[in-house]
Amino acid sequence: MDTIISPIALYLICVLGALGIAAALPRRNKALEITGGLVFAAAIGLAVLVLGLNATESGQPLPNYFFYPFAILALGASARMITHPRPVYSALYFILTIIASCGMYLLLSAEFMAFALVIIYAGAILITYLFVIMLATQAPSSASEQFIDETDSVAREPVISCVIGFVLLAILTTAMFRGVSDLPTPSDPETQMALAQDSVLLNLPRKVDRILDRAGVLQDHERVARNEDGTAAIDIVNRTITIENTDLHTVRLLDSDQWPDKLAAGNLDRLGYNLMHDHPMTIEIAGIILLMAMLGAVVLARKHIELEEDLKAAQARKLGDSMSPTAGTGNA
């Protein structure tokens, strides 16, 4: 059933989505826009249905039902974002999209990125957008309060764009559904995940020292033993820790029941370690890109003020006057 329904349902979703978006894009026909929105909502519903059925069919446990509200929210908000005639609302709907995708990030155990996204995107970037929107749009006069500029109220070439976009979507999703089954799946995902999570501890012996110390496991002059390559001597699978005494040069083994609860690597540990250990050069490049963007923005947006020669002279005189205390009386 999966092989027959999925593609057909998928293409049906794409067609529906295209129809919906094409109709819902801003135009001077409110009814059509609403119809389009409804059609698109139907498309999203169908998509969720198909995805749910797909998850059931595939023999996996019932999918995390939190995924569906977030997916619906993300797609609905993004659809509203591109169809709303007013840029400010677009920006706000985009924030909603981000928050929805942050939910999905959480489902994908990327907690740090989820919150970072909210802070950076919703907090910083979108606020900048809002500033610019406010700055660059003339306030509508009272006479044309309801009037929205043609730039925003009429979309250009909605049909062809939607055809292109949703054909692309159909191709991409077909490829994904075919390709995902070829991906290697971890045999025991939970163990694997835990092992993957904690394996970063091997590379952080001093953090392990600190946690063990706080947990009261270590005595004086004791620390986690180091392997020859400097990693901590921890057996993650058996959950044993080798502890050495730097003073007496003795070694003792900590059993798994003595493994402190706090000794676990979080998402942040792994992300930070990965970032600093595996991609140091990329960070540098990212820094340079940001610096250049900042300089570029300054250069581009700077306002060129052309002053006449005598105006410049006046400006300079004014500056000179304000510097010297006696100048004011001379003028008077």
């Binding site: 989505g17 978006i21 894009l25 995805l51 595939s58 996996q60 999918p63 995390n64 995924f67 993004s78 659809a79 974002m81 591109i82 920006a91 999209t97 995708s101 999905m104 959480l106 994908l108 155990s109 990327a110 907690e111 740090f112 990125m113 996204l117 950076i120 995107y121 970037i125 900048t128 957008y129 610019v132 929107i133 660059a136 500029d149 730039t151 250009r156 070439e157 764009s161 292109i164 976009g165 979507l169 999703t173 994904m176 995902v180 971890p186 995902p189 694997q192 706090k262 792994r270 992300l271 970032l275 595996d278 990329t282 990212a286 890109i289 250049m292 963007a293 923005a297 581009l300 306002k303």
Partner: protein, 120 residues
Amino acid sequence: MDHLLHSTQLAQLAFPEAVPAVTMAHYLFVSAAMFVMGLVGFLTRKNMIVMFLCTELMFQGAGLALIAFGRHHLGADGQTFVIFVLCVAAAEAAMALALVVLLFRHKETLSAQAWKELNG
């Protein structure tokens, strides 16, 4: 620090399902749909600010796919890439908004249609 760590563990507890339960393809579909939505928006909307917003939406689609792949491979690379995507998005936003301001000063409109000097 402890609290933060605790909260992440709470998050893990709150959503105890392993990801494969909702297969990769689900997330990828959503990400692709977001990307396409951004594309359609970019192609259809005339307001330059909205166009740039749509590019941000496309970034989001890509970011979601990266995170999903990262989760699938149980690595942190996907999240690292999202950080870089964020960097690029921020840089793009800065430049784009500066450009928008500049262009708006010239034509007093935000419409991309106003710039047709390159027509043949």
